[in-house]
């Protein structure tokens, strides 16, 4: 008999992803609020304290929360291996990420060195625990599929991101002298955005798109080799600091081209799907991948940093994860209730369909707000006045809507669970 898989007792409680996703939406609200109040200043320079604060609210506040929450639930589903001591680990990592992000962002905004250091240390601790527990789950996985290996590359990329980030924080706080600050920032950004975010996000997409949209699988070259190649190119990029400048540029161009090809394949696979309905999750994925393709074109043609930042942070990092959240939450709610129904032997009861947890109409409304905010943000990157403030305001409403939609799904789940437990 095959004994792979979890018992329902071992399955991570559903409160874990909800906790992470709701916190991510709160950080997204904070981004909208800051942008509404200080949008023009944010767009003045990518190095302004506000720009650094908002960038980290998006990457560490929103993105890290979504990716951690999703990973804690998806590892058992994709790799058949849970994160060890998932309840304790989830509480510690969630709290450290929450407090660390707040400290770091307040540190940037107020230029207080102590807050920056405290934020840097707290976040490093959160990521260290996360890396160790994710690593153990991946190593324990009985699945030898390439997905497990590629996820390993993605989470490994977090290590240099955190080390370089810590070094930069130490430099900003005056604890050390950072030589060649520009190069270190490029490496920190590259490992974080292209390595950790890019690899983990697209490994998830490689699994979720064929599964949920009944689409053909990705070609072996793309699924098995493209993202490990990105990791290898990032290693070359890092080593190229000791080589002539041309190596650095060549590595980045190859990484950009790899993501361009990946993006084209995602669109092509989605186009060939058997489930022809276009739901909101698909709109988020299309918008995110479209932004990625545009970002590569803008970067290769020497476009400005603010437009590139808007496309990558707003168009990709804040967009694709929402599509994943809207796809994953209803499935998890349905699955946990189905398990409860079997355990309670309440076979006269029917678990609500996945559509009941996040209403399509509500998700689409949030998408429209998100899309308008994104367009305004891209226009603001060229003309901060008058577009920055409305971009922030619409994004604020969109984030509030996202929070409401996630909370609604939890309330529906909670009510159904109460009925099954009664």
């Amino acid at each position: 008999m095959d004994t792979a898989g979890l018992s329902l007792d071992q399955a991570p409680p559903i409160t874990i992803p909800f906790k992470y996703f709701l916190t991510a939406a709160l950080f997204s609200i904070a981004v909208g609020l800051l942008f509404t109040l200080h949008g023009g200043d944010v767009m003045s320079s990518r190095w302004s304290p506000l720009a650094l604060g908002i960038t980290h609210l998006i990457t560490v506040g929103f993105l890290a929360q979504v990716m951690t929450g999703a990973m804690m639930q998806l590892l058992p589903v994709l790799a058949g291996s849970p994160i060890p001591k998932v309840v304790v680990v989830s509480w510690v990592v969630h709290l450290s990420l929450l407090v660390g992000t707040a400290l770091l962002v307040f540190g940037f905004l107020s230029s207080r060195e102590l807050l920056l250091i405290a934020g840097g240390i707290t976040l490093s601790a959160a990521f260290l625990i996360l890396l160790m527990s994710t690593g153990m789950a991946l190593l324990r996985s009985k699945s030898h599929r390439h997905t497990v290996r590629t996820l390993g590359f993605g989470w490994t990329a977090l290590a240099p991101t955190v080390i370089l980030g810590g070094y930069l924080v130490a430099g900003l706080a005056g604890l050390t002298q950072v030589a060649e600050m520009q190069k270190i920032v490029t490496l920190h950004l590259s490992w974080g955005l292209l390595g950790w975010t890019g690899i983990v996000l697209f490994t998830t997409i490689f699994e979720l798109v064929p599964m949920f949209y009944v689409a053909p699988g990705f070609p072996v070259l793309i699924k098995h080799w493209s993202l490990p190649s990105v990791f290898l190119l990032l290693v070359i990029l890092t080593l190229s600091n000791f080589m002539p400048g041309a190596f650095l540029k060549a590595s980045l161009v190859l990484i950009a081209m790899t993501f361009f090809v990946i993006g084209c394949y995602v669109l092509s696979i989605v186009y060939r799907r058997k489930r022809l309905i276009v739901d909101t999750t698909l709109l988020f994925i299309w918008t995110g991948v479209g932004s990625l393709l545009l970002a590569v074109v803008v970067w290769l043609s020497g476009g400005n940093d603010l437009l590139l930042g808007g496309l990558l942070l707003g168009g990709v990092c804040l967009t694709i994860p929402i599509g994943i959240i809207y796809k994953v939450i209803p499935f998890l709610c349905w699955f946990h209730l189905q398990g409860l129904l079997i355990r309670r032997e309440k076979f006269d009861h029917t678990v609500p369909s996945m559509k009941c947890f996040i209403k399509e109409k509500e998700a689409k409304r949030q998408y429209m707000l998100h899309l308008i905010a994104l367009c305004l943000l891209l226009m603001a990157s060229q003309l901060p006045n008058p577009f920055a403030m409305p971009a922030g305001a619409v994004f604020l409403f969109s984030s509030l809507y996202l929070f409401k939609n996630i909370l609604y799904a939890y309330i529906v789940f909670h009510n159904e669970r109460r009925i099954l437990n009664s």
Partner: protein
């Protein structure tokens, strides 16, 4: 007797629903053979709760899962 179910072109959670429906009617001597596009890890926890045993193997790009009542003889070649 072996009952067959092909869930390769169904979107989640329909494959799980179809398998659970098929198991409701599965007599103790019978076995269900499911053809899936991926290894359905979440299904296993439900099978364990429902007191079923299973065996999973890959055939080309398809995942084949044999499911039978625990305590009853497994299908030929599965023991």
């Amino acid at each position: 007797m072996e009952h067959r179910l092909d869930v390769r072109v169904l979107e989640p959670p329909v494959p799980l629903e179809r398998i659970l429906e098929a198991l409701e009617d599965l007599s103790e001597q019978d076995c269900l053979r499911v053809r899936h596009s991926r290894e359905p890890y979440p299904l296993y926890s439900l099978l364990r709760e429902m007191n079923f045993s299973w065996n999973t193997r890959w055939s080309n790009s398809d995942c084949i899962i044999h499911i039978w009542h625990t305590g009853h003889p497994p299908p030929e070649g599965m023991s």
